[in-house]
């Protein structure tokens, strides 16, 4: 067993884990955070996408020990502190960016990471930025609309913050 110390959605965690424990299983089974799904289990589908130090990664291909000393954010951590949906989640809701919902937590985290790197993407850049996330309902059009909607929400929130209006509350990595 190996000791790991990390933050998950802002909370500090100390745990003893087997080195072979995958990050997605640590999140789902040890911590009970079930947003990240195990889809393909082969680094392809993106359903297990979480943020590691603010960047999207596929948690089926990261060992929990590799996350030690770092900050992990799951879709549970993408909500605002008052429990309302974060900007990216709200955009998925408004644009109906989901059908069965299995890919959605990974999509939300992939969009969050994409917009942190590129706050004003074109539609083509969104499509390429989400190439690591599969929607087997094939609901891509609305997912892309949700990402563009989220980008607009985040830019507006940042403009408000820099112009001294009410600060946006709790949005992660934005």
């Amino acid at each position: 067993m190996t000791e790991i110390k990390l933050t998950v959605n802002g909370a500090t965690r100390n745990d003893e884990v087997e080195p072979r424990l995958l990050l997605v299983h640590y999140l789902r089974e040890t911590l009970g955070l079930r947003a990240a799904n195990v889809g393909c289990d082969t680094t392809s589908c993106g359903a297990c996408t979480v943020l590691l130090d603010g960047e999207s990664v596929k948690s089926c291909t990261v060992l929990a020990v590799q996350a030690s000393g770092r900050a992990v954010t799951t879709a549970e951590g993408a909500v605002n502190r008052d429990g309302t949906l974060g900007h990216v989640q709200q955009a998925f809701r408004e644009e109906h960016g989901l059908q069965c919902g299995f890919c959605t937590p990974g999509m939300v985290m992939a969009v969050t990471s994409l917009l942190a790197e590129n706050p004003d993407p074109t539609e083509q850049e969104v499509r390429e930025g989400l190439e690591g996330n599969f929607c087997r309902c094939t609901g891509y059009h609305n997912i892309v609309r949700a990402a563009l909607n989220a980008a607009a929400k985040l830019r507006a929130a940042n403009d408000d913050a820099t112009s001294g209006k009410a600060p946006s509350d709790g949005e992660v990595a934005a």
């Binding site: 080195p19 289990d41 680094t43 999207s56 291909t61």
Partner: protein, 270 residues
């Protein structure tokens, strides 16, 4: 899928990593991003007894200019290669190729050293570094040695790297505005190349046309003799030995090599 059990060691220094490799020999594997190794461990193609995590060795990461070369630390990630202003200016084919690896999540984890040491003949970075004429810096208990990229890939997933050595850096020449092109034929986003071609300043390299990335020597010779890109590209499959699989038979791969080489020599990138 859960990997078989292993012991996990965090290397505190390069010397510590070398000592751990010497202690555990071929039972040990170095771990950086783990994006080639962990998938192989999950399906039991690899079953190392010990993983030595080298990602905390900050000296192994980063991109720097050194005279007329660029030195890239082994644990530099694909995302960092793709966004590097140094590479975009002086080795743009490498920045472009790094942006074609997998998908954003994979590029946030995978490293140049991992990709080169894994030596997948269909991968983006090995073929690109072959076209660039890169040098591989290797550190062992006896000190450092340099291996030219033409001598580094010895077979499918096999390299000149010894079991007690660390691939520590990659050197590529600064090519500035020299002509380059890159072509990757895939049927789906984030697949490996069915055939790939990297061309850079008269050197041409092919992915998925044999057990290692291969130079298109006949094409290069023709270019030196003044042939047009179209005529030189017609020779791209000479001396190759492509396999046949679900995606393409050997004849189709040879056809793709000729077509993609022409496009790469014309400077096309997509």
């Amino acid at each position: 899928m859960i990997p078989a059990s292993f012991d996990y060691e965090v290397a505190e220094s390069t010397a510590h990593a070398l000592a751990l490799l010497a202690e555990h020999g071929e039972d040990a594997k170095l771990l950086a991003g783990g994006h080639s190794l962990l998938p192989m461990m999950k399906i039991r193609l690899a079953q190392p007894a010990v993983l030595i995590d080298i990602t905390r060795l900050t000296g192994l990461s980063g991109i720097q200019i050194d005279g007329d070369e660029i030195v890239i630390g082994a644990t530099t990630r694909h995302a960092d290669l793709a966004s590097s202003q140094i590479l975009r200016a002086d080795a743009p084919v490498l920045a472009h190729a790094a942006a074609q690896v997998g998908d954003p999540q994979i590029r946030h984890r995978g490293t140049i050293g991992g990709s080169v040491a894994h030596a997948d003949p269909s991968a983006d970075l090995p073929v690109t570094l072959l076209a660039l004429g890169a040098t591989v810096e290797v550190t062992g208990s006896q000190g450092r040695r340099s291996v030219g990229i033409d001598d580094f890939f010895t077979g499918p997933f096999e390299t000149a790297l010894g079991p007690d050595e660390i691939l520590s850096a990659i050197r590529v020449p600064r090519l500035g505005g020299k002509p380059w092109g890159y072509q990757k034929f895939v049927r789906r986003a984030n697949d490996w190349a069915i055939v790939g071609v990297a061309a850079c300043d008269g050197r041409v390299a092919l992915a998925s046309m044999g057990g290692t990335p291969l130079r298109a020597h006949a094409t290069e010779d023709a270019l030196r003799s003044g042939a047009t890109p179209r005529d030189a590209a017609a020779l791209a499959a000479v001396g190759t030995s492509p396999g046949a699989d679900f995606h393409a038979d050997a004849d189709f791969r040879e056809h793709l090599a000729r077509v993609l080489t022409r496009r790469a020599l014309e400077g096309r990138t997509g």
